[in-house]
Subunit: 167 residues, 2 copies
C-alpha cells in the first residue's frame, strides 16, 4: 500500500504491520486528534500528558512522554503528508515549519520519519507503521531500544481504547 | 508572503529578496523544469550538467555542480511543498521519499531547507529565497561561504536567461 515515493530499505527501516479489528475511520481519528491519541500512544506506565497537532504539511506534531517517576521526554515533529484514512507521514528530522532539526531524536537514533498507513478491510483495517532511518546504526539502536515492542504495545492499547467505545 | 507555517529566524536563516523584471509564470518554470534550471542555477564558471525533478512532496530534486576543473558536487534534495507560481520548498535534511539524510550538506553546513517564494507584480515578480538552518553555526558557515552572492548571481543569470526569450 506504499506509494512509489516511499522506498523501504530493510537495512535502514523498521516496520510494524498488523490487521486490527477497528474501522479505518476510528484508527485515523486516534492518530489525528490529540484527545484520542493521548490515551494510547505511549506504552504504559509511560503516559502522554501533552499533545499538539497542526495537521498540515509543515505543521507541528508535539508531544511528551512522562515516566512513572515523573521524568519527561519531549518530541517535536513536523507533518509531511496527510492523506485522510490512508497515510500520515511525520518526521523528527525537521522542526515544524520545515526547518532542519538540530537535535538528535533519541540517544543513538539521529532521527526518523514515521509513515503510518491504513487500508480499510471492511470493518477492520490493515495497519502499518514504518520508521525510516538515515543510517544502519540509528535503525539498530531504535530496534534494540524496543521499537517493535513499544509501537506494538501502543497499537494494542489503541485498539482497546477504540473498542471501549471512546469514539 | 510567507505562510504562517514558515517562521523565519534572523539568527538561523539567510534571505535573498529581489524584484525581478520577469513574469511569475516564467520564474516558476525556471525553477521547476530541468532544461530551464540548468542554464542559470549555478554561478558561472560552475555549471549544472545533470538535473532531475520529481515535482511532488517526497519527490527527488537532484543536481550536480561542476567546476571549471571538472570537479563535481552532487546534491540530492526532497521536495516538501509545491504551490504553483507561489512557493516551492525543498530540503537537504531529507532524502527523496522523506528519509532523514545521513549526509552533511556542505562542510560546516549540516543541512538547510530552501523556500522559494514568488509574488506576481504585474509583469514583474517579487522573488524571495530563504535558507532555513538547524543552528547558528550552519547559518554562519553558509553565509561566509557566499550564500547571498552565489544565490544572487544565480538569480541574475536566471533573469538574463528568461529575458533572452528562452521560454
Amino acid at each position: 500500500m506504499t506509494t512509489s515515493v516511499l522506498k523501504v530499505n530493510p537495512k535502514l527501516d523498521l516496520v510494524l504491520e498488523r490487521d486490527i479489528d477497528v474501522p479505518v475511520e476510528k484508527a485515523w481519528m486516534a492518530w489525528t486528534t490529540p484527545e484520542h491519541l493521548k490515551p494510547w500512544f505511549s506504552p504504559k506506565p509511560w503516559v502522554i500528558t501533552h499533545c499538539e497537532m497542526d495537521l498540515r504539511p509543515g505543521g507541528a506534531f508535539k508531544f511528551d512522554m512522562q515516566g512513572p517517576e515523573g521524568d519527561k521526554q519531549w518530541f517535536t515533529a513536523c507533518y509531511l503528508e496527510i492523506v485522510p484514512q490512508r497515510r500520515l507521514v511525520w518526521t523528527l528530522a525537521l522542526e515544524p515549519g520545515f526547518r532542519p532539526s538540530a537535535k538528535e531524536t533519541l540517544p543513538g537514533v539521529k532521527s526518523f520519519t514515521a509513515v503510518i498507513e491504513f487500508e480499510a478491510k471492511g470493518k477492520a483495517t490493515l495497519y502499518r507503521a514504518t520508521a525510516l532511518h538515515p543510517d544502519e546504526a540509528s535503525a539498530k539502536t531504535h530496534d534494540d531500544m524496543g521499537f517493535t515492542e513499544g509501537w506494538g504495545t501502543a497499537l494494542t492499547q489503541m485498539v482497546e481504547y477504540l473498542k471501549s467505545g471512546a469514539i
